[in-house]
Symmetry: C2
Subunit: 417 residues, 2 copies
């Protein structure tokens, strides 16, 4: 069963926003056995909406549309579909009542604009939008489905989960799609591919391999589809096990794991506490850690020591170390890690100090120079990195490299016990 | 002049990555007078690549393709275009030499896979990829252009800036597209639209208005196109000025401003220092501030006080306050702000304490309850927020609301001087 996703709105075409809805939808559709053939972003003009829907309905079983259902004048999806399917707008009473309740709950008057949200084409099935005022609409056209949803991500997600995905699961029938993703760190893409040449050559024809680099990891994805889900999963599992023997030290996680979630799981597993002392990463390590639900179980807190005198006063770094070696040095970063570990009474600590850029370079220390230390009650490990000239990338790479160093330190200490 | 963007790769269709390249390209193309008609993501299969390029070349003057040029087996864009345009792969010597130099500089051996990157279709013009091994390729087909680039964002951007955009600017001829964006905070979309009904009604027909909500702001975008750029800019400027009179307190910035960049500019302008004490936001405020280049001029640092005893030891909060009122309270958050302001010797401070979720709710304090305080040497302002149940959103909204409170406090104190 095939789907096409259409996102409507000039904001995507002129580059004002990035379309994150489609990626989420693609992922969820795969899980219910629906393959996405194309994702298309078009302008919010009447003519483009009608011609695109008309054309794409031939190529797939279901066309999913997001965007252009808001209360403002630039939102015209509803009107365009109404014309395309020869229908007219009528008030949908349950939706009007729902909108009234939303406004009453917030203690706000019901505006005319918002009441108009309850008007829907007479020939569609209304999909209740529990979290917002613009309902979803399901049109049945010559045995195919055309579904329109609001573009607000959490409203779209609720409508997909509550109304669309269960229905698609019921009608997609049989065919399963299985993906497995392995997260690697530390090997550039071409080196990884060279190391895996033989493994790839032996891969069964029905399993597809893809390398997906991002700024902080390279994911290896194995995909297969067929009628028997269990069989597909078994075949892929065999390949994953072979892979783990080839690059055991570079694999840090699976599927949607992040370096921060993997480190969090390790800390929980061994009942350990962590604190951070961040200079060049400026709070990003703490931010990545505390994005994880439940991080208060293992994360005590940290100090963002951006100014040198804060490194001294809040972390107890010896001022002479900074004078002698500079703030971006092994000595200072180890003192920062030790300082925060003792002051925050934790088992482990991470510290960073570097030159994120674009300014701040000194002779011998160009932009991108970063020192990272991780310390435990038994030892400290530190490393210098030379990243590039992009500030955001330097901050992110430093943060993830630091978390990886902590991961390796915990693993080595727990293995020795 | 019209463009279509094609991104190639299953990773987008199955939702494994979000396509950020197209948004950047759309934005840059607009600046040189090229309108993007569609953005299409397709699978990396030979047949889909060929049929999509063939079809879309009719609808626009230039087709820009990204992705599928990497060194691994799943990358087949080059082969597909070669077949489509009846060409054959030949070694491009300057590219081979460039690849050799890249590997020599890194002290790495040149692999066979990487040497293959120097093969290009014989009938294309090679666009030098200064930052990577896969070159761009420009095909001229029946008066239209088809251009392929690697999908790695910084490589694609360099090729666009150095080779493609200057050429398009030269041939797009005359037509200008002008966008202006106003960043607002604090009014939901429908209330904003109601307040602006009259302003919108008086808008000249050639100016298009769009409302673009995101989790932390609503942007109002004015767009117009025509032969005279200066005239368009003047017309739009008049509308912006009228808008600023209607909602002066809700406009915090323009174009790509973020709340953190606006606050940073204010601190620089008045030569002020800031520190933060974060509980529920867990480093996110520091992270947003230090994303800004030059933030060390005004940001001294902060404490992430996730555990209660860190609020006491690192910020000097009175333990009785926490016992009596709870960590999520006006009293504690004001004490945190004062504590970090004095310990870090700054002019202003921000503090947060709340329940980001999914766990941690207590009777009377559901998930989403957040206290924020901002303090100066003269006063402290605090406010309680009730956000929703989504952890990431609660953290982000708390952070941006806190920065907005600081913005308003600085503005009011500087106005009184």
């Amino acid at each position: 069963m095939y789907a096409t996703i259409i996102t409507i709105g000039d904001e995507i075409l002129i580059g004002q926003i990035v379309d994150t809805n489609s990626a989420w939808m693609g992922n969820e559709l795969n899980k219910v056995g629906v393959k996405v053939r194309q994702i298309i972003s078009i302008s919010d003009t009447d003519e483009q909406i009608k011609s695109t829907v008309k054309q794409l309905i031939n190529d797939s079983d279901i066309v999913l549309i997001t965007g252009g259902l808001g209360p403002t004048n630039d939102d015209i999806t509803k009107q365009a579909l109404c014309q395309l399917f020869g229908s007219e707008l009528v008030v949908h009473e349950p939706t009007l009542e729902h909108i009234r309740q939303i406004f009453a709950k917030r203690g706000l008057p019901l505006t005319d604009l918002n009441a108009l949200q309850a008007e829907v084409p007479s020939n569609c099935e209304v999909l209740h939008n529990r979290l917002g005022t613009a309902p979803g609409m399901w049109f049945q056209v010559d045995g195919k489905a055309v579904v329109a949803m609001p573009g607000v991500p959490f409203e779209m997600k609720a409508i997909m989960q509550e109304h669309i995905l269960p229905r698609l699961l019921a009608i997609s029938g049989g065919e399963s799609i299985v993906h497995r993703t392995i997260q690697t760190f530390g090997l550039p893409e071409s080196f990884l591919a060279e190391r895996l040449t033989e493994w790839e050559a032996k891969m069964p024809n029905n399993i597809k391999v893809a390398y997906l680099p991002n700024p902080t990891s390279i994911r290896i994805r194995l995909s297969s589809s067929g009628p028997k889900k269990e069989l597909l999963e078994l075949e892929i599992q065999k390949q994953v096990e072979a892979l783990m023997k080839i690059i055991p030290n570079n694999i840090f996680g699976h599927e949607d794991d992040t370096m921060a979630s993997v480190v969090g799981d390790l800390l929980v597993e061994h009942d350990l506490k962590l604190a951070v002392a961040e200079s060049c990463t400026g709070g990003t390590i703490a931010h990545l850690i505390t994005q994880q639900p439940g991080s208060s179980r293992y994360f005590t807190g940290g100090v963002v020591a951006y100014a040198n005198d804060i490194k001294i006063s809040a972390l107890g770094v010896d001022g002479h170390l900074i004078e002698t070696h500079g703030a971006v040095s092994q000595q200072v970063v180890e003192a920062m890690a030790n300082g925060v570990m003792h002051r925050f009474s934790t088992d482990y600590a991470i510290a960073t100090s570097g030159i994120a850029g674009p300014t701040g370079a000194t002779p011998g220390k160009p932009v991108g120079t970063v020192w990272v230390a991780v310390s435990s009650r038994h030892t400290a490990v530190s490393q210098m990195f030379s990243f590039g000239s992009n500030r955001e990338q330097n901050i992110l790479r430093s943060s993830v490299s630091a978390l990886n160093m902590l991961r390796l330190l915990i693993l080595s200490e727990k293995k020795m016990q």
